[in-house]
Symmetry: D2
């Protein structure tokens, strides 16, 4: 379900076709040689033969792997200590879509955008037309009951879907229903619920009653979910609540989803785990019970640092994709596993958000591409034979494969850029926008 090639599209896209073509032209020959080098290497090692595939098939699968762009990741993020906005940031959802289209134009791996309500407001028809014009789809909708909005009747200071008072819960439920309505109008098929509900001190909230209330509130939302929609329940151990959160881990999220129904799935945000958590195993567990709804991509060294995916622990990212690719393979053989959604959920505090997203598309596809080079059949044999040394080598051989030519060739083939960062800088896009856009810091903020 990829977007039409750039070549087939109109001239309204943010980046001049010319610039991309000229840059590609100058790099094409070198890329072709690099790709042939890789092909030779893979042939000599017997990798392609063992996988019963071709480099072209691999490229097709990489091309089919897309990540969703977060509307809120297109502005500069920040911490509680401050935010350092850059010039030319988008000031409306329409400008965010423009920037998203640029990322997609250059990378060809990010054809959808996820909206956050009420951060992203706009008439549905205008939104749909704008997105369509830019070649973008809308993925899962995100509700927001972790902040108070100007004019909001009741405060979420002490919770939203789990608040002790039913009026506050009702307000939060209604907000989610509204978000679904907006999503329906613009073609989304899923609602992501992440709440900040929890407590800052022992005693502040009752663990059991809070969970019951969240379960009830989610049931209300689920009841109103359109028949072809999914509900994603996200968990997080801490922040903004610093003693306990109501949906603190995958165990609790799974418990809630199982109580809701078949279309409720768990959403795994890579940054929402305690130090040392084996995230790839959690991904595997959720696949196993058929409840993996999506993955929020980012990276971290300490807490929910929201750094760019693959920037700190690229091997872990690869291992996570190994679980996903292995599951896909098995699913293709037997029953259908519906593919989880991959959303970039990062906070770009010191980098240009467009550049950070371009890099992230590359990192996600790199991890995915490397996972495609894993010989899972051989791996299974070695696991059955309790041969950890050779089993590790199977993974390491895939991980050490330099897939940069594959990623660039896929981009080129699909109308994107061999060197997206280079073109972006050369284009002067950001500076041009800095002249056009009038930032209103109140709306430009917001990060998850």
């Amino acid at each position: 379900m990829r977007m039409p090639h750039m070549a087939e599209r109109g001239p309204e896209l943010p980046m001049q076709r010319d610039l991309i073509d000229r840059s590609n032209a100058s790099l094409k020959a070198r890329l072709a040689l690099d790709l042939e080098s890789l092909r030779g290497s893979l042939q000599r090692s017997g990798t392609l033969l063992a996988l019963d595939t071709t480099l072209e098939e691999i490229m097709d699968r990489v091309a089919g792997f897309e990540v969703v762009l977060p509307s809120w990741g297109l502005g500069t993020g920040g911490t509680r200590f401050g935010r350092f906005p850059g010039p030319g940031e988008p000031t409306s959802i329409f400008e965010k879509l423009e920037d998203a289209a640029l990322v997609q134009q250059l990378t060809r791996g990010a054809g959808a955008v996820s909206l956050h309500v009420p951060w992203d407001s706009g008439a549905s028809r205008a939104l749909s037309e704008c997105a369509q014009g830019l070649g973008l789809r809308f993925d899962a909708m995100n509700s927001n009951t972790f902040q108070d909005q100007p004019g909001q009747r009741l405060s979420y200071k002490f919770g939203s879907l789990s608040h002790p008072e039913s009026a506050v819960r009702r307000q939060a439920i209604d907000h989610n229903l509204e978000v679904i309505a907006i999503g329906e109008a613009i073609g989304s098929k899923a609602l992501s619920v992440w709440i900040g509900d929890g407590s800052d001190t022992p005693g502040q909230s009752n663990f059991r009653r809070s969970l019951e209330r969240v379960a009830d509130s989610l049931a209300e939302i689920y009841k109103s979910l359109p028949g072809d929609w999914k509900l994603f329940v996200e968990y997080k151990p801490y922040e903004p609540a610093f003693y306990s959160t109501v949906i603190q881990d995958w165990g609790t999220a799974l418990h809630l989803c199982q109580g809701l129904g078949d279309r409720a799935h768990v959403l795994v945000d890579l940054g929402h785990h305690l130090p040392g958590t084996n995230i790839e195993q959690i991904v595997s567990r959720l696949i196993q019970v058929g409840r993996l709804g999506g993955v929020h991509l980012n990276d971290s060294k300490y807490g929910d640092d929201d750094l760019t995916a693959g920037s700190i622990r690229p091997f872990q990212l690869f291992l996570i994709f190994c679980e996903l690719v292995a599951a896909e393979r098995e699913a293709r053989k037997s029953r259908q596993m519906s593919s989880p959604t991959y959303l970039i959920d990062q906070s770009h505090n010191t980098r240009d958000p467009i550049e950070a997203l371009i890099v992230t598309v590359e990192e996600a596809r790199r991890a995915y591409a490397k996972a495609l080079f894993v010989d899972f059949e051989r791996l299974a044999e070695l696991q059955d034979a309790s041969d950890p040394v050779l089993a590790e080598l199977v993974l390491k051989n895939a991980f050490e494969t330099d897939v940069r030519p594959v990623l660039a060739a896929v981009r080129l083939r699909d109308g994107g850029a061999i060197d997206p960062i280079g073109i972006f800088r050369e284009s002067g896009y950001r500076l041009a926008k800095a002249r056009e856009r009038k930032p209103d810091w109140k709306t430009a903020g917001g990060m998850v």
Copy 2:
């Protein structure tokens, strides 16, 4: 279901009655005054009135709270770097029972022992008679498939209940059935299963197939479980496997138990969590879904340090007991919640094991007693009113209550010692045993 008072029992107990009585006699008057001071204080603050209870009722409940002693905690523990055994350690299960009886005699809060097979071997009849003579019961049985035993046919190096080879799994299942058989002969009513299965490197094992195999193996064991027995499934994030473990967290343990049946429960070891885990919330979750089988008491600062309970994070221990006491209260009002078992599971590396266990009984009862002083009705009101400051004070007022006189008075009343450590040292027990017992280091080792 407490043990008969010491006064009613024969003279075969390890500690001379005389010594205890003499010591108590010299401390009794002071204790009485301390207890009256506390009573006065509690009356003045209105605590007893608010709780609609008396100090005597509190004492009765404390007296009814018992912890189980681990047979393996009666010898000096150790680390992978070494073990520093002390003089007079027990060299057989019978000597361990003798030491356990001493702890019970002095504390009156530890009337049961949990055995670990095959560490603890002995004819069932002899075991039963010995225990009975010492006034001890046998609590949950522990199987051991995380070590290879001399003469064992197949190795658990690469797993036991989850091993890729069915023959190894069968051997591990059979071992568990054997442990049940021993347990039946000596009056136990539960089997605790903790396995070390996992992997040390990415690729070594398959997350999904490993879990399926464990589920199948546990189902085999569960099928053979006597009708009045429970099966406890313990989880642990790491160690001895350092990349992944098969039953890594409560989510996985719960999933397994739900697949097994109503008599399968999760066992929470306080040390088996990643840094920062809100353990009291996990305890609450398991109570909520009716699957909390037991709690393994210990404390830790870093990993599964197996320090004595309450020695590092006494406030956390108190919060855990608050969940348990709150649940008990509600259970008494409505349906019956069967009380979880509380086992001390520690590694006494640099302390005399008997002294460490005496201290731990005190710490566990201290946390429990303080939790009894929590005004849960008032707390619920404050939670509903989103008043975190006063809610915290409800907990802190209970936690700051100096319950030492209560604990000592309960011991005295039940025939134990006001100053158990003092008496133990005065008695010269350890030195006497050092002369009697002939350590065989091979059997004296072992720790969990």
Copy 3:
């Protein structure tokens, strides 16, 4: 150097004397009995004799223990996800001083305030007069180069004192010199430097050159430090930078201080440590090398959660105070150790800031008071005898002592309130302020 008793002061203090007196009158008798109960208990146990002290001496020492209030802690804090302000928050430094005076009036343990520039702006003379009128002093000054201010010439997005460009470093240095100048005018004697400098991705900054630049910048500041001032260097492992920070731990902070001179000291913020850090040992190390400048009090379960001190790990807080009290004792015997400053550095996200500060003064004094009950001579003997069981009991006996009557009695004696929270609520102070004060959210924000 405590403040004069309230009784000696004029009527301009925020809380009506009457209200306090009436409340105290109704609670006095009960307090006296509780205090006598405690005294009796301490006499019976021989504690006072062993410590060669009296309850009155203990009370004097507790009375002499003061914490500094942070100006920024008087407004509601927040997280990167939002802030939930409460009614009646202070909108200027003068209103913050008013609230601080209220905390001091009720607790008598918080006679000083620490300012943060440029958050706190006002004419020095007006500030001094206001503080004096309210019976407050100014403690260490805090500079701020972790945020950009409106109209600021150069951005701190990529660092301040360690920025690659000398012009930015100069601007940051000059800001610090300005803060010193303000501090001199209002009677402060120390500058606290905490910088957010660091990096979000590997490669972004050079570890060695960044440290050299910070060392140079600090040397510039140190050169201009008035002769009777101290410089406090604060460390933090992460946040707002999420891959590396320039002054990441006590080792680096100490290295910097040693390079600066005798008046440079390390500042330990309890929340600025990685999971599992033994903070009391770091405090001990810094005392040992004579470089402990101060302690920022707060508590945390995960990261720099900035929860109220003692709310999560009260035993750890007690252990930290044990190091400080032990060092004080030794210092009194030999050379003079200058007492570190104790600042409350918290983020009150879901509590009323005034209530949170009142509770924190209580918690800090509680930990301090309990540490005064430790028999350090006995402890030293047991440590020399390698007797961990009895050594722990020495600490636990102090920790289990219910010192609430001591704290309340000290407050009463010094003109404060037996029940500060009760009086605060009864007074309707917050509501009155909500009518008076006109919040300007830009200045009311800010948290560290």
Copy 4:
């Protein structure tokens, strides 16, 4: 100072030359093509030009990079829960040297062995002759005062170099002097001191006095250090002591070294850090103050897991080597930085130790080789320009380079094996040894 080529050496080496040659012959052609592919790629990207180097120079530097093999890593490791020995383990230091020689023969990157006394005992002359015959050197000596040995007069249960009793400290000091004497006889030039001293409970030991005692003990040892020797001081936050350790972090280790003298250096074990520690920054700090003595290579996900280096966090390993390579580069320009020693310090619990060591030599050289591809001059420019996106790409471009052909070609050139694991398995070495060697489990144990 590399060893002579295998070709120049006698026939007494553990692996038949023939087997290696035959295997190499069959793989040579493919390797040559892979190497040329890489060369082409590097030329096209301008990498070699930018670095002003050739692939041959890179290969020379890789060839010059050696890791030291730990004698204790040649037997199967274990945890406190058990050990699963494999067949054919070495039963004496001479057999360990034989296995080490095999690793060196196949990898040509591990020409030295580090001994642990008293685990490794043998007449010095015999040891020297054996090592020489096998083409091995002896690197740093390791003392052991964290275990009690049979027949030892005083126990280290409560400490060694920091023990409260001077007689125990003296015994521990004397042991270290003995280790130096052995080392001198066999040509070592450094002593590594790692102690397990610490405490399991608050109160057990005095932080300050313990540190003073360790400082005094180390000074005694340092006084006797031969003039051309170095002393390495290792730190560790926990295990085997679980509340505090005396040398808990680099700050304390540095403090000790600075007190000792110029030949005292800090030893960084990658596993000896709290969760989230930025280890590469610590390495940088120690380089900056001229006190990095060595690095103990291993990997971990949770604690001191002692997994094989690069198996969990290969990117972190690369970043650590970036610091080392950058420092080397600068040192070559100005003054001489003496190269730190790189020791493999792992516990091979579920892998064949020889295979694990072979893999580790590969991983270490891989990280080193990739670091050689970092364009540090370009990186410095980007750091000065605050350009984190391109700075990261400089690192990622090096990290993504597939250096497997370089590593294999270096091995081939120096007489080693293109496919060391393959040859090892084909050779039947382990089985042959299983027939020869008679394991005595008491001596075969031991792991750090």
